[in-house]
Symmetry: D2
Subunit: 390 residues, 4 copies
């Protein structure tokens, strides 16, 4: 990779880095411009990523099998991919359905006003689930790119919630009936390509899961860029999902807030936010896949695509090393230890007696009002670790 | 109010309009400027709002009772307010605690790193709950204005979730122990005054509720401005809460996306969004309070404050009338009827047989791809109703 | 148009409404989806828009003439369009160059790091200017869709400013040398499709114009959506350009702040902002073209496209009527008259004596501090006019 | 400062770091909370900052002299400050007027609808200019915190432009008449505390300057946070001002886009953006003051304030060192050299012959379309320098 050294930041399969076929395969088309790169075959992608140290690839049904392929063609394509996977040791840990490119989904898939579309979306997903299982995936992602509106006159948002729930419940039952070992990860996004998408953030999607028939089968696939589009602190949302046992998968990339979906190389924007995300995942020893859902700049040729892929993994490992450095820094440990001592009161568990006692307690408010928390110093130390001068 | 006519848009108590003492009482201080208006006493506020047609007032503990009041002063103040309520017929349907102004809460209340602060916040809330019940409130709002961080180095977001849960669970038990007839409504906000607040949107807060010990006691108090600060479609979030049975209270105001918390007069920004919100509430025959959590521009004197209050209610009623007009419009009914016909397929309830049949179904995709949905026309009709030319 | 009445809001050529061929001709492709509508020929567009009451159409070079057309094909295409223009009375008041779709421009056109691209962009523009003049256009728009970066490591922003100036200066000289009667209108945009575009707002572009060799030939083509993407008040920017004599053209559409470029139907978002924009243009009796740079929702078929076009013009006329109503409203006139009386001090023109007098003047600050401005009432009246209840 | 080492990143006066009295003196009041820190006297601030290595302090008139001070008090205060400046070697390179805190300015200062306010604002500024000159300042900043509106019904934006111009022209004449050696730096901001401020970005303010009577006296004071509130690339705006010879002063701090004005410690948010800003200033050998217009988190006590101040300067120096490292990196030099070679065509200067030649030139478009630009690699190298692993 144009001289990137085989150093401490060299990825290997144990790091569980994955890429979508659609990410490194992105040809650089955008709303104002034509493709700039020729397609790369799935086989070539798998081989190249294996060489770069990735763990696996993920795919939409149509990333691999063209929509109009015959059954025989489909089977041949799948066999070829399986052979390459076997040869390279690469996995397909996650798969998903493309429910957004075909004009048939222009008003939504599971939430289209047309019930035929809702049914067809289910069918397409059932078939894609079969493919996913055939390729060994244990995780199935749902991103509802068309589940939204441009005008609220068109659709009741309560109906949309109900339709979406109906679909996920149906598909949970399908997986159970087929005895597939497969869990679902739902991916929220606030807008684009629709004006407003239903379940716009981690929070909305997490809340929805509790209303399902089989909530234990369903978790989240949060994406950095999607919550940052809404200006939210991504690591807070991920932490809430993690604390609730619902972080099933994650999409890593970069994004500037308040604009179009950029899908930039992980860590190339807001490295501080990326650091705290890596810290959250690593401190929790989270075992899921580190999936990069992003693509190379449109300025790039194929070499740039592989630079992008290599850089994504490398930056994660750089940040992971910084997390260890933060956790070991004596001054930071001192500051955090002091804070923890302040926070070390007994847990606030209710009893009638505890309630009475607390209600009558006297607090030295003037002293508490005066005390500072030392967060400027703590944050400066954090930045110096991030900037590599500490 | 300076000539606003007693017409079809005249508010009366049956409309359930309420204002916070802190809203009409806002003296116009902001980060860059001093107060511009003298304080108005709670008594004067209640009397004036009664004259304008409001149903009631809501309050923070310290809006009514100064923090350093003696028990006797407190009781006198409460008795005076009760007398005015009785005389005017006004209610106090909701109350809340100020857990953000005092420097003691500078690092949070329920999520402060200092356990003494977490305890004190509980104590202050227990006492404020007593006051709320004494004044007849059935709803208790929690807005955690300081529950957040400027730097993620300072606090684990998972700890913050746990601490916040501990506090709400504790207070639920308190209400149960006291046999109070009181429900809790949690109010999310993405940021300001902290850099990032935990539980930043309706979705995050709704998800949190499912993890409580007594989720049935707890719902949401969404605020228009807060979700719009993050650029989210407010009516979608409210619809999700409503569909989940969790819309307990609502804060109406106005806001431009992507900027500081403006708390503008309801309907004065994004009247289209306000229309669809009113439509959602009225179509659902939602029985909760229409609370205005906003304030007059800082340019105004006291007359401007009452203009602001009157305008808030009047605009709601104007929009309510437009909702009826939308629902009765023959062309709109035709379009929506046609759409509903498309959507009128059978519900997608799982059975093994249904799954098999669906998987094998043939869809006329070319025909579905070609069809348009008529949403431009539908939206134009909506705008013409909104603009009063239809 | 599906029953839109021939009423007071019926457009006619005197209203100077124009559409880009690319707007009604937009096939509905987006970053996540394929086209949903078949192409409509330029001829058919002109005929249809003429029937709807438009004044003319605008075009990019390649909207009309395919990039690979021979000279003979080009001339035939141009003749056919001219014949249709003559038959319908439609005009081509503005034209522009497509400098963003071709992969050759992936790093910019006038600001590409590759000097061959910068030269080619000039050549393509010179040829497109010839076409514009041949079609009778008096205005030439520059939208630099690729003039930006994803990473600031790639390009000096000062070089970019110089390169862009060099290009515009060169093209001004070309127009002068050819004795064309043509003015230039520069169109700013903050981002998309590039991560950040140079000259991101009306202000940046206006400032740039003062540094040109022939500033008198060059003005602005501001677009509603572009400034609103950055959350700016569009009418303020347009007013600054207008006051500076630099509003040469305008792109009308709709947009929610802080997200991807939506190009929604004019007036369908933020009708209050649209009202104040129409008020600005109409009160100033601005004589330029009211160009709609927007497109139908992707949910629509061709009927939806014409609904969109008709609705765009109709909403402008509705708002224009409201402007007249605002200007004639007795209570509004009273309030604004009173405000104007406060503002009616002498102009602050310097003289040494005036300076001395002003420095010594005594102001009754307590009185001024107490006074309110009545803006809540004024804004409520404005909203009631906008909502059609006044 | 609590152990920050005297290393390569230790500030000294030659670095030209300055702070506002209002920045380190900020008591931590915000819209939802009371002050948390006692005031620090100007004298104490100057002494402390001198010890930390700053070059000077800047001030608003009322930061130093209370609004109601007698002439004798004023003179005593000024003398005391001058004595401390002399003793410490600190300077006052810039001063400004507070035209936003007093309720008298609630509708604006130079653009208030009340002409008495416009006059009073001029008077206050003339007096504050005298103070500035007395303290040795060579730069005078104008931040129009109240120059805006909440409703566009209140004020013509064209009048606002004219009023603001009138004021700046008047004050330029005052400075010329007094033969003061003083230049003006105008500071834009998009919103807050007003709903929308006139001249919202660097671009708008730069354009305005060209319309003044004495544009040579007037430049810009851009602030990182202000352009980032609107999601703009700050370094692009600064580069445009610099290229135009109009970067007179700069306000350094940190901000997350699309939210309230945070005034965070420089470099603590978006360190990549901060790096490119420092690169722009240092590569241009810009000689102006590096002024920090920011404040410590509200969680802090006084120690935290000095941590904040020390960290601000230290981070600038860390980034400055990284700029040198970037400029010296062999691989980066190679990439940029290759790009520069592509860009090395002749300047595009018009002549009739040149125009003819260019119009006829043949470009190898297929080859140019195929070429990548290597920006992913370049950006990854940049990030690795920023993260200190290269």
């Amino acid at each position: 990779m144009s001289g990137i050294p085989q150093d401490a930041f060299t990825p290997s399969p144990e790091h569980h880095f994955t890429f979508g076929l659609w990410t490194v395969g992105n040809p650089g088309r955008d709303p104002f411009g034509d493709p700039v790169r020729p397609p790369i075959s799935p086989i070539a992608i798998v081989e190249k990523l294996a060489g770069l140290g990735a763990y696996g690839v993920n795919l939409h049904d149509n990333d691999l099998v063209p929509a109009d392929a015959s059954a025989a063609e489909r089977d041949r394509i799948v066999r070829e991919l399986q052979a390459t996977l076997a040869a390279t040791g690469m996995k397909v840990p996650m798969a998903t359905t493309n429910l957004f490119s075909d004009p048939v989904f222009r008003d939504g898939a599971f939430t289209s006003n047309d019930s035929r579309v809702r049914s067809y979306a289910l069918q397409k997903t059932m078939r894609a689930i079969d493919l996913a299982v055939e390729l060994g995936a244990g995780m199935y992602v749902f991103w509802g790119g068309r589940e939204g509106v441009e005008t609220n006159a068109a659709k009741s948002p309560q109906d949309a919630v109900k339709w979406f729930r109906e679909a996920i419940n149906f598909l949970c039952e399908y997986v159970r009936a087929e005895r597939y070992d497969l869990r679902f990860a739902l991916e929220p996004k606030p807008n684009e390509p629709r004006g407003d998408l239903f379940f716009p953030t981690i929070g909305h999607m997490l809340a929805f899961i509790y209303t399902l028939d089989h909530p234990e089968m369903v978790g989240l696939n949060p994406e950095v860029a999607h919550d940052q589009m809404a200006g939210l602190d991504f690591s807070h949302g991920v932490a809430q999902a993690l604390e609730a046992g619902k972080l099933f998968h994650i999409d890593l990339n970069g994004q500037k807030p308040g604009r179009f979906d950029q899908d930039l190389r992980f860590g190339s924007e807001d490295p501080k936010g990326a650091f705290f995300l890596v810290k959250l995942l690593e401190d929790a020893a989270w075992t899921g896949m580190r999936h990069f859902d992003s693509h190379a700049y449109r300025t790039e040729d194929e070499q740039g695509v592989w630079d992008f892929a290599a850089g994504s993994m490398r930056t994660y490992l750089i940040l992971k090393e910084k997390v260890a450095r933060f956790n070991d820094d004596p001054e930071i440990r001192q500051i955090l230890g002091d804070l923890r001592a302040r926070g070390a009161g007994p847990r606030l568990t209710w009893s009638a007696e505890r309630g009475r006692a607390l209600k009558a307690e006297r607090f030295d408010l003037p002293a508490i009002r005066r005390q500072g928390y030392g967060y400027e110093r703590l944050d400066q130390l954090t930045m110096e670790i991030l900037l590599g001068v500490r």
